[in-house]
């Protein structure tokens, strides 16, 4: 059922490609860092309603930006199946005698690894902006949350990839899926300020629990408990990975 070598080599390919594409790494880091720098500095002195007084905006913002970075890179990672289709390499993968589940797992592992590398880089740089975490052990918990966020949105990307023939629908996914998910998650502001109906919509956005969970473990301030966030996110990621694998398997590769 599972071909370990195949999963490993698919993972290895993603990581190699990522490390070789210096411009891709820089490009992927630029936007979250700009958000962090300009929003962080711009709102530095502001007191934001709905946020407990003792938290600086920059401390509030960093987990949100990490969540954002993983959201973007993972969804793209799932959609990268379309690039492989465009460049023909998907056929080479699909004609190999390995189970389709292994192919999905390899892709998800590879995508999650590159998303996590970016997230960790952002976390590292955020210390330069004066970001502080509650304890060293919280880093491990944060990694767990980051992984779950990555898996969730890789699954989402795979679902979209299997429903699209080429990259033409890309901007639609970007504008009508990724950005709303980002804004609904409370990455930039506390969700308590939302009107009630919008808060309900936020609750079906997996990133809400990802960002809140990261806040809980990194800065110790959150709307929900760590466990609550973790369980919900684990459910979301399992559902997405299964759906992503299902749709990937059903779609024809040529």
């Amino acid at each position: 059922m599972i071909n370990k070598t195949a999963i490993y080599v698919l993972w290895l390919r993603e990581v190699k490609r990522f490390l070789r594409a210096k411009s891709r790494v820089i490009g992927a880091l630029a936007m979250p860092l700009f958000f962090l720098a300009f929003l962080g500095l711009g709102f530095r002195k502001m007191s934001i309603p709905g946020m407990s007084g003792e938290v600086d905006y920059i401390r509030f913002l960093v987990p949100g930006i990490i969540g954002m970075s993983i959201l973007f890179s993972s969804t793209f990672g799932g959609l990268s199946v379309l690039w492989d289709r465009e460049f023909g390499f998907l056929k080479e993968i699909m004609v190999a005698p390995v189970t389709r589940v292994s192919i999905v797992l390899g892709r998800i592992l590879g995508g999650a690894t590159t998303a996590l590398i970016q997230a960790i880089l952002i976390l590292g740089i955020s210390f330069l902006f004066g970001f502080k975490i509650v304890s060293i052990s919280s880093l491990l918990l944060a990694l767990a949350f980051m992984t779950l966020i990555a898996i969730t949105f890789l699954g989402l990307g795979l679902i979209f990839a299997s429903k699209m023939r080429d990259m033409q629908g890309f901007s639609i996914v970007m504008n009508f899926v990724i950005f709303p998910l980002f804004f609904l998650s409370g990455a930039l502001y506390p969700l308590d300020n939302f009107p009630v109906w919008l808060r309900y919509i936020s609750k079906i956005d997996p990133l809400t629990y990802g960002v809140d969970g990261l806040r809980a473990v990194l800065i110790g301030v959150s709307s929900f408990s760590t466990l609550y966030n973790f369980v919900l996110l684990a459910v979301f990621s399992s559902v997405m990975i299964v759906l992503g694998a299902y749709f990937f398997e059903k779609s024809e590769s040529v």
């Binding site: 390499f89 056929k91 040529v254």
Partner: protein
């Protein structure tokens, strides 16, 4: 050893009601080099995609190396190598890394892998370029790398979809030599598609001519050409030709004659040996021959014979059909 490497019975593929491959049946013997020849859009690639498990057949049965292509996909996949029409390499990896990726996907163990990659790189003469990123390869190098890759896991059957498309004449010759060598020395059963007549003619033991999803003829290139009755000698003539034509018609080795204005087209065997005689007869009848042209029949003529159209004309009309097919496929995905 199994007698047939491939057996296909009434294999059909439809895209939203448009029939791309229409109930084709054929079998390929183990060790044979079999060609699918036809214009773009005839259904060759769809056939290959079905046999290599990338596309599901709408109906019909296919068997590759003894495995049912729809029920036994993993065993089918293990038994075949495929070189796709469009490049299917990861251009951000080196040549060697592409081969390693493939070998690992096919579960070849490390020691064996190293040895085998070295072997196939030598076979296609890319050993010196193995550490270069594929994006810096030329078209011919990419093709060679793909052929090498298709061979790593010792496939019983190798599919080559338009293996020389877009390559220059010299590189094409080179690739042809590899293909011949693989088949004759390596004993690999090869199925190739092409829309180059001379390629099918030069390489294939047997050729199926495909048009609009169906086989219109299937035989050895020699026998297919024999159907046309031999060489065509065209003569441009000056003067009163009626007497000459009568006399030519009475010759028993002339199989066919047609006249267009000042040109006579004569079908016969061993045309080159008959030309002096024809000129002699013309002189005797007071007709001056100003130009002689000898044409050996190509598979192009065979295609014309069976479909009533030339491949070029066919490709123009196929464009409409292809567009409709693409629209149907896009619609299927939305």
């Amino acid at each position: 050893m199994r007698e047939h490497a491939i057996k296909v019975d009434k294999l059909t593929r439809k895209f939203n009601g448009l029939v791309a491959v229409d109930q084709i049946s054929f079998s390929v013997k183990t060790g044979e080099l079999f060609g699918l020849l036809g214009p773009n859009g005839a259904g060759k690639t769809t056939t290959i995609n079905m046999l290599s498990t990338l596309l599901k057949a709408t109906s019909g049965y296919g068997e590759v190396a003894g495995y049912d292509i729809s029920k036994n996909k993993d065993d089918t996949r293990r038994s075949i190598g495929v070189v796709f029409q469009e490049t299917a390499l990861d251009i951000k990896l080196t040549g060697k890394e592409n081969l390693e990726f493939h070998a690992m996907m096919y579960g070849i163990k490390k020691a064996e892998r190293k040895k085998r990659i070295k072997e196939v790189l030598e076979l296609v003469e890319l050993t010196e370029k193995k550490r270069v990123l594929v994006e810096n390869y030329s078209g011919g190098m990419k093709r060679r790398l793909e052929i090498a890759r298709g061979l790593i896991h010792w496939p019983k059957v190798l599919f080559l979809d338009e293996p020389t498309l877009g390559l220059d004449v010299q590189t094409r010759r080179h690739i042809w030599d590899y293909i011949k060598k693989l088949n004759k020395e390596g004993g690999v059963t090869i199925i190739l598609t092409t829309h180059y007549m001379e390629e099918a003619d030069f390489l294939c033991d047997r050729v199926a001519i495909m048009d609009q999803g169906k086989f219109v003829a299937m035989d050895t290139p020699v026998r297919l050409k024999d159907i046309l009755g031999g060489d065509v000698v065209s003569m441009e003539i000056e003067g009163e030709a009626d007497l000459l034509i009568d006399q030519i018609n009475s010759l028993d080795w002339i199989k066919n004659m047609a006249r267009h204005d000042e040109t006579l087209s004569l079908t016969m065997e061993k045309g080159e040996r008959r030309i002096p005689e024809l000129i002699h007869i013309a002189r005797e009848n007071g007709v001056n021959v100003t130009c002689v042209h000898l044409r050996k029949p190509s598979l192009e003529d065979v295609f014309l014979h069976f479909t009533g159209r030339t491949m070029r004309v066919e490709e123009a009309s196929q464009t409409e059909r292809n567009l409709a097919m693409i629209r149907a496929r896009m619609g299927r995905k939305r």
